[in-house]
């Protein structure tokens, strides 16, 4: 049986804080996680949750206080592990005196390609991220979005089986975000493992086979987006229109006007009663949709719980 793409066991990272009297602050607490080959795995959490710390640990930029991690069976201490990974840091910054073409050529040199292969790859990946026309422009003249694209190109330039992306949609306009989503879909189609951190939950919901939610450095939950938010219906959403000049009946006062239409959310048990009311005033029913909790609801619940716990601990400490 082949090794999992990413295997994290008890990974913990403490940082010293303070100048004279150094105290240790735990940034990541005993993270244990496994990501299978070919999975798109979303790493969710609010700012300061430990997402970037985890990615830095996995890419060897910082060293764990305790715990281990392996990528495709190789320890993160092993330099050969880096052949199998691509990494896009959060808000990447590159050598701004280089052009995009030179930057990719530079990074391609670390993969020992022949000059011809290197040139071909550079052109292919510039095109993939939509930077062909800006290939000879120095990076100091790039916008944030263009830098992000160059960053994605360097991360996947050598066809790594495992790709780590730290907030890949950050700084991108809607078209750019769509393009990054397409790239992640392509990577999945090619059988690569994508591990990306984000706080844009709709992206995670759209892209990920599984997600993990991190808050306060601790893992709060792992699973497929629809699994972890549960399939239980929390209500019914009715979209309707009234006849012209017809006032909104008192019984439907909770409905929210959206232009000429109304949106009303009711508990499932009150659906038929509400529909009778709507029929009574000859309303035109446009749609009835079950309301399920979103990943965002789950996220806010989890993060809120964690923050409440932190406040409680701080309160006790005082």
């Amino acid at each position: 049986m082949s090794a999992p793409a990413i295997e994290i066991t008890g990974l913990t990272k403490d940082y010293p804080v303070g100048f004279w009297r150094k105290r240790m602050r735990r940034s990541l607490d005993n993270l244990t996680l496994q990501v299978e080959e070919g999975e798109v795995f979303g790493f969710l959490g609010p700012n300061g949750a430990g997402k970037t710390t985890t990615l830095k640990l996995l890419t060897g930029l910082i060293f764990p206080t305790s715990g281990t991690a392996r990528v495709r069976g190789r320890s993160i201490d092993d330099v050969r592990m880096h052949r199998d990974i691509g990494y896009l840091p959060e808000q990447p910054y590159f050598y701004d005196y280089l052009t995009a073409r030179e930057l990719l050529d530079y990074y391609a040199r670390f993969s020992n390609y022949s000059a011809t292969e290197r040139r071909a790859r550079v052109e292919r990946f510039l095109e993939l991220v939509g930077l062909t026309s800006a290939g000879n422009v120095q990076l100091r003249k790039f916008s944030k979005g263009m830098l992000q694209r160059a960053g994605i190109a360097q991360a996947i330039l050598h066809d790594p089986p495992v790709v780590f992306l730290d907030e890949p949609m950050s700084g991108l306009d809607p078209i750019g975000r769509r393009e990054v989503r397409d790239i992640i879909h392509d990577l999945k189609r090619q059988g690569r493992t994508v591990f990306f951190s984000t706080h844009i939950l709709s992206d995670a919901e759209m892209l990920c086979d599984r997600v993990a939610v991190l808050a306060g450095g601790k893992l709060q939950g792992v699973g497929a987006p629809n699994e972890i938010v549960s399939v239980e219906i929390s209500g019914m959403e009715i979209l309707f229109e009234l006849r012209e000049g017809e006032p909104l009946p008192q019984a439907l006062a909770k409905a929210v006007a959206i232009g000429p239409r109304y949106r009303l959310e009711v508990p499932e048990s009150e659906l038929y009663y509400t529909l009778d009311r709507l029929r009574g005033c000859e309303a035109r029913i446009l749609s009835i949709t079950p309301v399920r909790p979103t990943l965002e609801d789950y996220f806010i619940r989890i993060v809120g719980r964690e923050q409440t716990a932190v406040h409680a601990v701080e309160g006790m400490a005082r």
């Binding site: 940082y15 830095k56 890419t59 060897g60 930029l61 910082i62 060293f63 330099v79 050969r80 880096h82 052949r83 990974i85 691509g86 990494y87 896009l88 840091p89 808000q91 990447p92 910054y93 590159f94 050598y95 005196y97 280089l98 530079y106 990074y107 040199r109 670390f110 993969s111 020992n112 960053g151 360097q154 991360a155 780590f164």
Partner: protein, 259 residues
């Protein structure tokens, strides 16, 4: 041997060129032209001495400034600007990265020094003398300057692995000045009757690089030959010392968490 340090070195050189570091050559050229014209008019028979002294001293000072002030930012800048994040995610060891950065700055210094040496040659030719056999020793003096710069660069790189550029520059220049006067400091210790001071100055003498041995500018300007043994001795000394400093830098940097 891995090709990774070479890749980093070439990029470091490219950075120096694009950051217009080599523009100092223009200043140097202007200085040499000015000196050659001036010396030609006011010096009687000592034109060669003045041009060699001035030229080689300028090469040494310009090189020292470059080695210290670029050297102290070599690693620090990469960490501050976070350009190191994407690079260290590639299959390159931290020690290879350091050797690459070191090699890149040495290459920059080599190119810079070569052009400056050419400038000294042109100025010497201008002041009206055909080249003589003794002028070949100028090249040895330049070689010693390069060895000295290799040591200074290694020290600057070492400090830049864990300290801010300002402190690194202070430490490096401090060691440089101490290294120039290492023999005098040891001599001072031996004059005293204080055993502790004597031991301390002796330890300091062996600890800091002995830069005094690399300065043959005055001798060369007077047409004196440089002993071959000194060439070997200085080469070996510089290689071993810089090697040890780079190993120490690598040991420090390999354990460093990148914030």
């Amino acid at each position: 041997m891995s090709a990774m340090p070479g890749v980093v070195a070439v990029n470091t050189f490219r950075e120096a060129v694009r950051d217009r570091v080599l523009y100092n050559l223009v200043l140097f050229a202007l200085m040499m032209i000015g000196a050659a014209i001036l010396v030609g008019q006011i010096s009687l028979g000592i034109e060669r001495l003045v041009i060699i002294n001035l030229g080689l001293s300028a090469i040494s000072i310009f090189g020292l400034v470059m080695a210290v002030f670029i050297g102290v930012g070599l690693v620090y800048k990469e960490i501050e600007k976070r350009t190191l994040y994407t690079l260290l995610a590639k299959p390159i060891r931290r020690s290879e990265f350091l050797v690459g950065k070191y090699g890149g700055l040495l290459l920059t210094l080599l190119v810079n020094t070569s052009f400056m040496t050419l400038g000294v040659g042109v100025a010497l030719y201008y002041v009206g003398r055909p080249f003589v056999r003794a002028d070949a020793w100028i090249l040895v003096a330049v070689y010693f300057i390069l060895l000295e710069l290799a040591l200074v660069t290694a020290l600057a790189l070492f400090f830049s692995c864990f300290s801010s550029p300002m402190l690194s520059a202070l430490f490096t220049l401090g060691i440089y000045v101490t290294g120039i006067f290492a023999s005098d400091i040891r001599g001072f210790g031996e004059f005293t009757n204080n055993e502790a001071l004597k031991t301390a100055t002796t330890v300091l003498y062996y600890l800091v690089p002995n830069f005094h041995n690399f300065n043959v500018i005055s001798a060369v300007a007077h047409g004196e030959a440089v002993p071959v043994a000194l060439i070997w001795q200085n080469t070996l000394y510089a290689v071993v010392y810089a090697g040890v400093v780079l190993i120490a830098a690598s040991a420090v940097f390999s354990r460093r968490n990148l914030k």
